[in-house]
């Protein structure tokens, strides 16, 4: 991460600042979603925006995810740059046709004649004791679809820079924010900046093992890296930041350097993000790997409500630490 001012913001503040700056910069940008205006969303991420930009730019909707997502697609095609707010990532299910059969394909099906410059903001992540329909991490689905770009910020700095790039991008971009991280603080420069989509970030340099981690799992990986340091294992933590475009080179180079790799993502392992990244590394660093790439994702169960059960489904520092230690034979 480039040197930054000392200013610290929470994830929520960084996202809000990115949106506010883009709303100011470009009158075509608007926010559409449930309880986004006065309520500022249940997570209060958008608090204050309607006061500055008014109800014609920050727009409350009925509980019609498919409907207002479809409206955003049409609005984006005809000159606006809407940011759609889907309160919980679990509700992506309701928008799949509009995102996958419409937004993702309009540009291609029209031979380049129409563009769909829209952003969808939504969440991922368990641990809020919200049970199976409010805890999923479904980012693998949309990462599978040509025409879409997918962003998973892991720090306030990344959240702001990636959000601004997403809004300026001429394609449909889906941003997944971990709902447990909105209060997570980190340095964010006061000066204007953006982060290009498709660039991985090495969150920690290391020599012995590569831990590829996404979203909140980056903190889990960094925690594990600390524990590993104590037993003399130097772990490199790599955050792809965008699932698509995927910065395969950085992932592969790191694995080649360390000769060992673990992939941690909060989505389900099977047919998920860990599968893609693990196979990219297994193929790209084939001749340098000393051990199979290890995948760590959410347990293969609908997220349970009961705290002891829910906690057992999410990847932990300890889990990553143990896996790394085993791979490094320590």
């Amino acid at each position: 991460m480039p040197e930054v001012a000392v200013r610290e913001l929470t994830m929520a503040e960084a996202i809000r600042e990115a949106l506010a700056e883009e709303l100011r910069r470009d009158s075509r940008v608007c926010i559409i979603g449930e309880d986004v205006a006065e309520a500022g969303t249940p997570f209060k991420v958008l608090s204050g925006l309607v006061e500055e930009f008014g109800k014609s730019r920050v727009i409350d909707t009925p509980i019609s995810e498919a409907g207002f997502t479809g409206i955003a697609v049409g609005a984006a095609m005809t000159g606006l740059r809407p940011v759609v707010d889907i309160m919980f990532g679990d509700f992506l299910t309701l928008t799949m046709d509009q995102m996958v059969n419409q937004a993702a394909k309009v540009h291609y099906m029209s031979g380049g004649a129409w563009k769909v410059p829209m952003v969808m903001r939504t969440t991922l992540g368990a641990s809020r004791r919200s049970a199976a329909q409010h805890s999923q991490s479904l980012h693998a689905w949309v990462s599978h679809v040509p025409g879409l770009k997918v962003v998973l910020p892991s720090t306030p700095y990344d959240a702001k820079g990636l959000m601004k790039s997403a809004i300026r991008d001429d394609n449909p971009v889906i941003i997944f924010e971990d709902k447990m991280m909105f209060r997570f603080k980190g340095p964010v420069p006061a000066e204007e900046y953006t982060i290009p989509l498709g660039l991985a970030d090495i969150k920690r340099e290391g020599e012995d093992i590569t831990i590829v981690a996404t979203s909140s799992m980056v903190q889990v990986a960094l925690g594990a890296a600390k524990l590993l340091e104590e037993i003399g294992v130097s772990a490199e933590v790599v955050d792809p930041r965008t699932m698509w475009p995927l910065d395969e080179t950085t992932l592969i180079e790191s694995a080649k350097k360390t000769s060992r790799a673990i992939v941690v993502d909060e989505g389900y392992e099977r047919y998920g993000v860990t599968a893609e990244i693990a196979s990219v590394i297994a193929a790209g660093a084939f001749y340098d790997l000393d051990a199979p790439v290890k995948r760590i994702g959410a347990m293969h169960v609908p997220i349970p409500f009961s705290p002891p059960l829910e906690d057992a489904t999410v990847p932990t520092e300890q889990q990553v630490f143990e896996a790394a230690r085993a791979m490094c034979k320590k």
């Binding site: 249940p42 409907g67 809020r128 004791r129 199976a132 349970p304 409500f305 009961s306």
Partner: protein, 332 residues
């Protein structure tokens, strides 16, 4: 054997047993939800919960008109429906606390309580998400000729979900025994329904030729009577109905929603609580009509309180499921 108590007005023709049972159920919901709020405030309950306080007459009036083997689907604000349909508070509290003794072995929590024994197909955390399930249960009842009826509870916010219109069309085409109950408490979370709902609510079922009625959701007798008519239609194979129940939630959208001034006035809340409280209205009626004495009502209230307190205690003492259970019930 039921003794007829002749009284005037809404709900006339109901037996005193029915009146007192409905009173009992409404009190049970009120006390249950107060305890839930308490458990949240004391940080004993994981996560959040959406309280049904203020809306008791809707669930109770409707479920009183159903048989135990009739089906219901419920919502994120589902404790009232669940109790009214016959679930017991102890296993409900246990579920809310994530304990193994809960209806879902702790896996569902507040938004997913289900109970086959009382015909509860489950609460649902997807707004409108159970409209298909309820309609499907009615489909089975018709296919198998069981004469069962399915009631689909949903808040007025679910009027925003396209699924509801798809299944209402199907329910009418196939004349399924389903009753769509729109609980209009006037708010979709923090937004007034007038900002989310174009046209008249009752014009929506009319769009599919589904007969509908609206009812004062604070008048349990009125709710019971209109529901009885709809249930009868359904059992006679005359197809679906739509009931709009106008009501109000006293508390926040969920237990954590305490400062609400930015979306609704304190005075509005006071008015409903003061003038339109479903339990108070029922008490006044029962006393006025001499269906019961204050002493009888106090006794019922006391009994219920004892039961609820014991249920909370049971849940607090109950053990969490063993972590080994996390992998069970994924596949049947």
């Amino acid at each position: 054997m039921k003794t007829e108590t002749k009284i005037e007005g809404a709900g006339s023709g109901l037996s005193s047993e029915t009146w007192l049972h409905m009173y009992r159920q409404m009190v049970a919901i009120r006390l249950f939800e107060n305890q839930v709020n308490e458990l949240y405030t004391r940080a004993v309950m994981p996560g959040l919960a959406h309280l049904y306080i203020g809306e008791e007459a809707v669930a109770v009036g409707i479920c009183e008109a159903l048989h135990r083997d009739d089906y219901i689907t419920s919502t994120h604000r589902g404790h009232g429906h669940c109790l009214a349909k016959g679930a017991s508070p102890d296993r409900m509290f246990a579920e809310l606390l994530g304990k193994e003794a809960g209806y879902c072995r702790g896996k569902g929590g507040s938004m997913h309580i289900a109970d086959p024994a009382s015909g509860n197909l489950g609460a649902n955390a997807i707004v409108g998400g159970s409209a298909g399930i309820a309609t499907g249960a009615a489909f089975t009842a018709k296919q198998l000729g069981t004469k069962q009826v399915a009631v689909c509870f949903f808040g007025e916010g679910a009027l925003g979900q396209g699924l509801l219109y798809e299944v209402m069309n199907l329910a009418k085409l196939w004349d399924l025994p389903v009753i769509y109950v729109c609980e209009n408490n006037m708010y979709n979370e923090y937004t007034h329904y007038s900002e989310t709902t174009a046209g008249e609510v009752l014009a929506r079922p009319a769009a599919f030729g589904i007969p509908s009625e609206s009812v004062d959701g604070q008048d349990v007798g009125a709710v019971y009577n209109v529901t009885s008519r709809m249930v009868e239609r359904a059992r006679e194979g005359k197809g679906p109905s739509f009931l709009l129940a106008n009501t109000y939630r006293y508390h926040g959208h969920h237990v954590g929603d305490v400062s609400r001034e930015y979306y609704r006035a304190k005075q509005e809340e006071q008015q409903w609580k003061g003038e339109r409280d479903p339990i108070q209205l029922l008490v006044d009626l029962l006393l006025k009509q001499k269906v019961a004495t204050q002493a009888q009502l106090d006794e019922i209230q006391a009994q219920v309180k004892t039961e609820i307190d014991a249920a909370v205690e049971f849940a607090l003492q109950a053990p969490y499921p063993g972590v080994d259970q996390v992998g069970e019930d994924v596949y049947a």
